[in-house]
């Protein structure tokens, strides 16, 4: 973060570099926030949960509805943020839990392709459900994160929302790592991920652990939904799809299944796009992002921090 303070630099070229770097960090943190959910689910059951982007979108919608209602009743901003965030987390988790139960659990022993197709179906279903139940219009998302006064001198480089997103992503990554490395649930998760049958044999309730993973992943998506929607100021039923694709790319880039990998992948992707926009052209931002993905996968097929999968013969 220190790099974001321009006081140390006076060279305009360097200023521009720092501005782009900070843009890239924000963008990367946004991708990382969503990518964490992808990577957790993949780590446990080896499924790419394409409906994750939609869970993020539902989180944003829930936060939108709650925040709008509360602001009509004149609640203070901090209360609105906490209550809307709380509602979004619970609602999204309920969706994540249900999606897993309906669409993935019956296919647990089916070939790998079946739950994947089921996930794509779920994604399309949820998108259209929100489209029909809510609206096809773009809705103005209230600015839930205020402009902090102490940020004003550097607001043209990093905004208050950017800082909140960066810090949230870092904190969530830390908590997740601690949970997975240090707690009983985390231990059970790791065991399930390594060998499901064996985990069952030693008395781990595998179904409950998988449900817990989906609930945690969905809760993260909801937090992301609230923060990101507040950052870009608008939502509609389709935001999950586009954000989901980029986040998925980030997860693969960093090594799908790895928690720090998702964050690193998100940041690398965000920085690449930002620098490509800044120094080449935003017309080619996606070209650079995906060329980078291809390059990394050629040299490290399991991603930056992914573990190489050893297949037993």
């Amino acid at each position: 973060m220190a790099a974001c303070f321009r006081f140390f630099f006076r060279d305009p070229g360097m200023d521009y570099f720092i501005e782009l770097f900070c843009s890239g960090l924000t963008r990367g943190a946004i991708y990382a926030l969503i990518a964490l959910g992808y990577t957790m689910v993949y780590g446990i059951i080896g499924l790419i949960n394409f409906a994750h982007g939609e869970i993020y979108m539902i989180g944003a919608f829930t936060a939108f509805i709650v925040a709008t209602v509360l602001s009509i009743y004149g609640f203070p901003l901090l209360a609105i943020v906490i209550l809307a965030g709380f509602a979004a987390v619970i609602w999204s988790s309920a969706y994540g839990y249900t999606v897993e139960k309906i669409a993935y659990r019956p296919l647990r022993h089916a070939p790998r392709l079946s739950p994947l197709i089921s996930a794509i179906g779920m994604s399309i279903f949820l998108q259209n459900y929100v489209l029909l139940a809510q609206t096809s219009n773009f809705l103005p998302f209230p600015e839930l994160i205020p402009e902090f006064a102490f940020m004003e001198p550097i607001a043209h480089i990093v905004g208050s929302t950017d800082i909140v997103i960066l810090i949230t992503t870092a904190v969530i990554m830390l908590i997740l790592t601690i949970v997975i490395k240090g707690t009983k649930v985390g231990k059970a998760m790791r065991a399930t991920s390594q060998d499901r049958t064996m985990a069952m044999l030693v008395g781990i309730n595998v179904n409950r652990i998988i449900s817990a993973t989906f609930i945690i992943g969905s809760a993260l998506a909801a937090v992301g939904g609230l923060l990101i929607a507040s950052h870009i100021g608008q939502i509609n039923f389709y935001i999950g799809f586009l954000a989901g694709i980029k986040a998925f790319t980030a997860a693969v880039l960093g090594g799908i299944g790895s928690i720090p990998g998702a964050v690193l992948g998100g940041l690398v992707l965000g920085l690449t796009e930002s620098f490509a926009t800044g120094y080449v052209s935003s017309d080619y931002e996606d070209v650079f992002a995906f060329s980078l993905l291809v390059l990394i996968l050629i040299f490290k097929p399991s991603g930056l921090l992914g573990k190489a999968e050893t297949k037993k013969v």
């Binding site: 521009y16 501005e19 782009l20 900070c22 843009s23 890239g24 924000t26 963008r27 946004i30 991708y31 219009n137 773009f138 809705l139 103005p140 607001a155 043209h156 480089i157 905004g159 929302t161 950017d162 990101i228 950052h231 870009i232 100021g233 608008q234 509609n236 389709y238 935001i239 586009l242 954000a243 980029k246 796009e273 930002s274 926009t277 800044g278 052209s281 935003s282 017309d283 931002e285 996606d286």
Partner: protein, 376 residues
């Protein structure tokens, strides 16, 4: 032997056709045949049918008053389904039926493919909706006129406003990579370059749906642009405008018809204040426009639909030209269209030598206190 017979049949058919066409030519003396061509069925029918209604309303009024110069007007309505390959047949049919002027076609592609047939037959064509710039600019179709502004008109209006009214000399042109947005941006770029008064310091496309636009906003800042001209739709415009405010960048933001939408003001909120967007000139205060809509409501008991005013205007302009010219001879009609001003729902208009209507076009609007206000 077979060949001989078929030749004979052909010859007979040709003679028959000549024989039948003679009475048609004779009837032409009694009525003026007014062709209406466009999409009247298929998925784009909603663009073409309002034109038929507009023509019916105007022509019925004219006929009720005894027609033009003692002649009644007869409508020949032909469908082209908005398809270029069908439009040539439509045009051939109208020409062979003796149409003397044609209102249409609706879609630019269909209009372009039909035009050579009318040009060869020296028939005046006026479209209420074909916006492709080349139709008039290319000079290939001296018989073509239109009562809608060409596609590049919006860009011209925006660029003129930024350069002349706001006095900017450094312009950043941004678009959303889509057909509409990029087309608009390319016109804007070429107008800025041709003006000689300003330079385009940045020309780039952004990816719609991106989660963050701060990098492109930083690039705009570095380019030193005083104004951003954006081609695209309101969701991206709202995000970019919001990001410009967040990065404390002071630039004017000008955009197109895709942004001149109340949803933009709703979504962008306070950030929308001061944003400029071009849109069709406001005609709601024009009594002729009000009367045309009221009449449509009375006769058809429905709302008018797309290009209704443009078609109403075109029909009025053509009828007026026939009356002033005293015939349907192309040269005389052209002269009348270019010199005689006519009052229409779209204002008091005449046509330039390329065929575009002078007085029809776009205005620049600015968001002031949560509403678009037309800038004079």
């Amino acid at each position: 032997m077979k060949l001989m017979r078929s030749k004979k049949i052909l010859a007979a058919a040709a003679i028959m056709m000549l024989a039948f066409s003679a009475p048609v030519a004779g009837m032409a003396a009694d009525t003026i045949k007014f062709g209406v061509a466009g999409a009247h069925s298929g998925d784009l029918a909603s663009y073409g049918l309002p034109t038929v209604n507009a023509a019916k309303l105007v022509i019925d009024q004219v006929n009720a008053k005894g027609g033009i110069n003692g002649k009644k007007i007869e409508l020949l309505i032909e469908d082209d389904v908005c398809k270029p390959e069908v439009a040539t047949n439509t045009a051939t049919k109208l020409v062979s039926q003796g149409a003397e002027v044609v209102l249409g076609h609706i879609c630019s592609g269909a209009t372009k493919s039909a035009l050579p047939i009318y040009t060869n037959a020296n028939i005046l064509v006026m479209s209420p909706s074909a916006t492709n710039p080349d139709l008039t600019y290319s000079g290939e179709y001296p018989n073509f006129f239109r009562t809608i502004a060409p596609d590049d008109m919006q860009a011209k209006v925006d660029v003129d406003y930024a350069l002349d009214k706001l006095g900017h000399t450094k312009i950043a042109v941004i678009h959303d990579k889509g057909d509409y947005g990029k087309g608009f941006a390319e016109f804007a770029k070429s107008f800025v370059e041709k003006s000689g008064k300003a330079e385009v310091v940045l020309f780039e496309g952004v990816t719609p749906g991106a989660v963050d636009y701060s990098a492109i906003v930083q690039k705009i800042k570095k380019s030193g642009a005083q104004a951003v001209i954006f081609g695209g739709y309101h969701p991206e415009a709202a995000k970019i405008v919001g990001m410009i405010k967040k990065k404390r960048l002071k630039v004017d933001f000008l955009s197109d018809d895709g942004v001149k939408d109340d949803t933009f003001i709703k979504v962008a909120g306070a950030d929308a204040e001061g944003v400029y967007a071009s849109g069709p000139k406001d005609t709601t205060g024009n009594p002729l426009s009000k009367a045309a809509f009221a009449e449509h409501k009375k006769v058809f008991n429905a709302d008018a639909g797309a290009f209704f005013e443009n078609a109403y205007t075109a029909t009025l302009a053509m009828v007026n030209a026939i009356e002033k010219a005293g015939s349907t001879d192309l040269a005389a009609l052209k002269k009348a269209l270019q010199t005689e001003k006519v009052d229409t729902p779209l204002g008091n208009i005449y046509f330039d030598d390329k065929g575009d209507a002078v007085g029809i076009g776009f205005s620049v609007y600015q968001v002031q206190n949560g509403a678009f206000v037309e800038m004079k």
